[in-house]
């Protein structure tokens, strides 16, 4: 059969165009070298945190493996048993600081991301719903948000943890409580803008259900500003968790996060054993800095008002 080869060209430019949308986003993001550096740093932090059980020289949670004779060794010292070198020194219990930091990073990131995700879901749902429904629901919700944001986050978290006690779940509850309001406020303002656009009116004119309009039309279009807020808030959550742990209110001492590691080394600071506090501090700083660098660039790229 001599069928003509029909070029599939109409489909091709469309695919290329769809791809170019992502590429454009990537290119705009990569325009800032600092942001790329931040992204690389964040990638390293995430990989280290995820792979900690496999790449850490020691399991810092296994108290049986720790040797009190190795306590407070400076960076680079060999272990008494001779089978490992403490690259970043050891803490008061003879724990390898490098391993402790890797595991601490894991806890800090997990708490930050989990609380951020829950707060985002809750806040976005309430905020978008408030914008769509309006009326009394919106009024009441937004006044609650105002009241919530009127109190310092650290104060609310401190009181909550004092009541709830210690534990990963409790600190996540505390962080969600202090953060959902930011998401709700941002989601509402973004959804209010979207809600007044014609396509929402058109969707109503088509007789679509309210649930469908909110979930398929309003929510996805309100997402970009929320992503930006989320990056900043995850960094805040990590810092807040570190602060709470430093104050001894966050996580149990058996599973130290970065904040608790810093607190543990605090008493040795003045006796010259700087590494117990400083290295976890550097890890915390690097994590928060990386997230903020990425968040800043995301905000610029996703902001339609900035000329590009």
């Amino acid at each position: 059969m001599s069928t003509m080869e029909i070029p599939l060209s109409p489909a091709l430019p469309q695919q290329a165009k769809g791809e170019s949308r992502f590429l454009r986003f990537a290119r705009e993001f990569a325009a800032s070298h600092i942001a790329v550096f931040g992204l690389a740093m964040l990638a390293v932090v995430i990989v280290v945190a995820l792979a900690a059980p496999w790449i850490a020289p020691q399991n810092p949670y296994d108290l049986g493996k720790l040797d009190l004779l190795d306590a407070r060794l400076p960076p680079g010292e060999k272990a008494g048993s001779g089978n490992m070198t403490y690259l970043l020194g050891t803490d008061g219990q003879g724990r390898d600081m490098l391993s402790a930091i890797m595991y601490g990073l894991r806890v800090s990131l997990m708490v930050g991301v989990a609380s951020g995700a829950i707060a985002l879901t809750l806040g976005a749902a309430l905020g978008v719903l408030a914008a769509y429904l309006g009326g009394r629901f919106e009024q009441v919700l937004m006044r609650i948000v105002d009241i919530q944001l009127g109190f310092p986050a650290i104060l609310v978290a401190l009181i909550l943890l004092a009541v709830l006690g210690k534990g990963v779940d409790k600190i996540i509850i505390a962080l969600v409580t202090v953060q959902w309001a930011y998401y709700a406020r941002t989601a509402r303002s973004a959804a209010l803008v979207e809600r007044n656009k014609d396509y929402i009116e058109a969707a109503r004119g088509l007789g679509l259900s309210a649930r469908r309009i909110v979930l398929r039309h309003l929510l996805p279009n309100s997402l970009p500003p929320l992503i930006v807020v989320a990056t900043v808030q995850v960094a805040h959550a990590i810092a807040l968790e570190a602060t709470l742990s430093f104050l001894g209110l966050g996580l149990p001492a058996t599973e130290p996060s970065l904040g608790l590691l810093i607190a543990n080394g605090y008493e040795y600071m003045l006796s010259g054993k700087y590494w117990i506090s400083v290295y976890p501090g550097v890890a915390l700083l690097a994590t928060i800095l990386a997230i903020n660098l990425v968040g800043d660039q995301l905000r610029d790229v996703l902001n339609p008002r900035l000329a590009r």
Binding site: Q14, E201, G207
Partner: protein
């Protein structure tokens, strides 16, 4: 034959900070199947709000204060929201003004069209997709199969409006309300879309209400025309008759403001003054302060009276009955 849509004494009000604003004040109109009604007026004359009121899409602080909207024998005012929702998009469809804004930017055309079908019909996704393809072809979009997977930003303004029209007509509605759908488009594209729209309506026997401020569009498209001013209908009748020999001074003014009607390059005639604020509407004829023919009598609100073959709201119509 009873008209498909019969609106009687419709009043829609908005509670604003400065008081109650009556955007639609006692509007009565009707459309039959296969008929095109042009609803003409300046910005703020209440023509769009009339369209939204028919669909029950007036949001607080606005509300329909009184009147009746009978669609195919069924009263729509006071109908519960879920019943209205079943009518919207299925039997009454709306096309909006700005084609750049009426499509959801994050969903593909296919998703949006299929969604419109499935909202009202118990069809399979494949069948809905078939229907979407067919509609895209009918509104004049080339290679609909590849266009279907695309997103709104990949379409030009004219193409988007075609898509919006295809979505509006996808469930074969009995009544289409088009709110200035060609205003944002090029004149050439506007012509094509008008032609397609007219063809689609005539073929399917639907009724069409075309809301616009553009008299040229009305002249080419509408069977009958209703002219609105300050929330009221001031003249209503056959399009040819009203546009040829307007009876209301406001219709006359509108026609005189169209450059094409002013062949010799004299200064364009304008209507003096501004559209009155609906919040501080003086008693009597709303147009009287801008009207050359205004007299003492105009302090009394003229009724919309039968005048020959048309209805006019004026004490001193320009044409004798």
């Amino acid at each position: 034959m009873a008209p498909l849509l019969d609106v009687t004494n419709l009043v829609t009000e908005f509670a604003t900070r400065d008081g109650l604003l009556r955007a639609v004040d006692g509007v009565s109109l009707s459309v039959a199947r296969g008929e095109v009604l042009g609803l003409v007026g300046e910005s703020g004359s209440g023509k769009s709000v009339t369209g939204f009121s028919i669909l029950g899409l007036v949001d607080p602080p606005g509300r329909i204060a009184s009147g009746s909207v009978v669609f195919d024998g069924q009263e729509l005012i006071g109908l519960p929201e879920n019943r209205l929702r079943q009518l919207r998009g299925r039997r009454i469809a709306m096309v909006f003004q700005d084609p750049m804004m009426t499509l959801n930017p994050v969903l593909s055309i296919e998703t949006q069209m299929v969604e419109a079908v499935l909202a009202h019909q118990n069809a399979s996704k494949a069948a809905a997709r078939e229907r979407a393809l067919e509609m895209l072809g009918r509104v004049g979009i080339a290679s609909p199969a590849s266009r279907l997977a695309q997103y709104p930003h990949q379409f030009s303004g004219g193409m988007r409006q075609r898509v919006a029209i295809a979505i509006a007509l996808i469930n074969r509605p009995d009544l289409v309300i088009a709110d200035e759908p060609t205003t944002a488009l090029d004149v050439t594209v506007q012509g094509q879309i008008l032609f397609e729209m007219q063809k689609l309506v005539r073929e399917s026997g639907s009724a069409l209400i075309w809301i616009t401020h553009d008299l040229a569009v009305i002249a080419g498209l509408a069977d009958r025309v209703a002219v609105m001013y300050a929330g009221r209908i001031v003249e209503q009748g056959a399009a040819a008759e009203v546009l040829e020999l307007p009876a209301h001074p406001y219709t006359r003014g509108l026609l005189d403001s169209v450059p094409a009607n002013n062949a010799t390059s004299r200064r364009l005639k304008q209507i003096p003054g501004m559209t009155p604020s609906l919040l501080r509407l003086a008693p009597g004829c709303a147009f009287r302060e801008r009207c050359e023919r205004a007299a003492e009598r105009c302090i009394d609100m003229p009724e919309l009276k039968l005048h020959g073959a048309r209805h006019v709201r004026c004490h001193f119509p320009l044409v004798s009955a």
